[in-house]
């Protein structure tokens, strides 16, 4: 069986988190922050998503 190291780490974080409500609030805050920093609405209704490979100043 192939293990998934990322899933394993996430499981450990969830298990170790003292308060489930606090955990959900933290995840929600992280998702909102990600949206606010990467999503840019344009006047035509489309959405520009800010990306960035390491070393690229882009786009």
């Amino acid at each position: 069986m192939v293990s998934d190291p990322v899933a394993a780490v996430v499981d450990r974080v969830i298990e170790a988190w003292p308060d489930r409500d606090d955990l959900l609030a933290t995840f929600e805050a992280a998702l909102r922050s990600s949206l606010e920093t990467t999503v840019r609405p344009a006047t035509d209704g489309s959405i520009f998503v800010v990306g960035g490979h390491p070393g690229h100043v882009a786009a």
Partner: protein
């Protein structure tokens, strides 16, 4: 904005599109942007927010002002299809599948067919004048340079390491 990366960046929000009209609208907006970008250049994989002329390097033929990088990648064309499909699959909404998206799909299929027979029929050369970004050029340790010496016959040699 990378075609592939932007689709992956918003994918975690798909599950919320069912109940949240704002999230649904945001995801449909990303699909709309993909369609507009691919209409500009279906061989490009990353685009600027405006027609700024910014670019990662000079590609040949020289890319337009909207294009950050002109590099054909099969996955870059697959991800916009996947996002549009999953949005429909989860919400049953076809609102985002407008004429522009249909043109995007036709353009993607056309490019894929052409590149299956690249040597025979592709107009895409990928003769990029690639220079890695400065951050990449300077990254990582370098071996120290050793002096180059010529012997009396003019033959270049590198001194042995001690």
């Amino acid at each position: 904005m990378w075609l592939r990366d932007s689709a992956a960046q918003v994918e975690p929000y798909l599950r919320f599109a069912v109940d949240d009209p704002q999230i649904h609208r945001m995801l449909a907006g990303v699909v709309r942007r993909h369609a507009a970008q691919i209409a500009i250049d279906p061989y490009a994989n990353a685009f600027n927010e405006s027609a700024s002329g910014a670019r990662v390097h000079e590609d040949r033929p020289v890319q337009g002002p909207w294009v950050w990088e002109r590099k054909y990648e099969l996955d870059s064309l697959c991800y916009p299809i996947r996002l549009a499909h999953r949005l429909w699959e989860l919400t049953a909404s076809v609102e985002h599948l407008d004429d522009a998206v249909h043109r995007m799909l036709a353009s993607i299929v056309s490019v894929m067919r052409t590149e299956q027979r690249h040597e025979a029929s592709s107009p895409y050369p990928l003769r990029a004048l690639r220079r890695p970004p400065a951050a990449h050029r300077n990254a990582g340790p370098r071996r120290p340079r050793r002096a180059v010496r010529r012997d009396r016959h003019g033959v270049v040699g590198i001194p042995a390491e001690r």
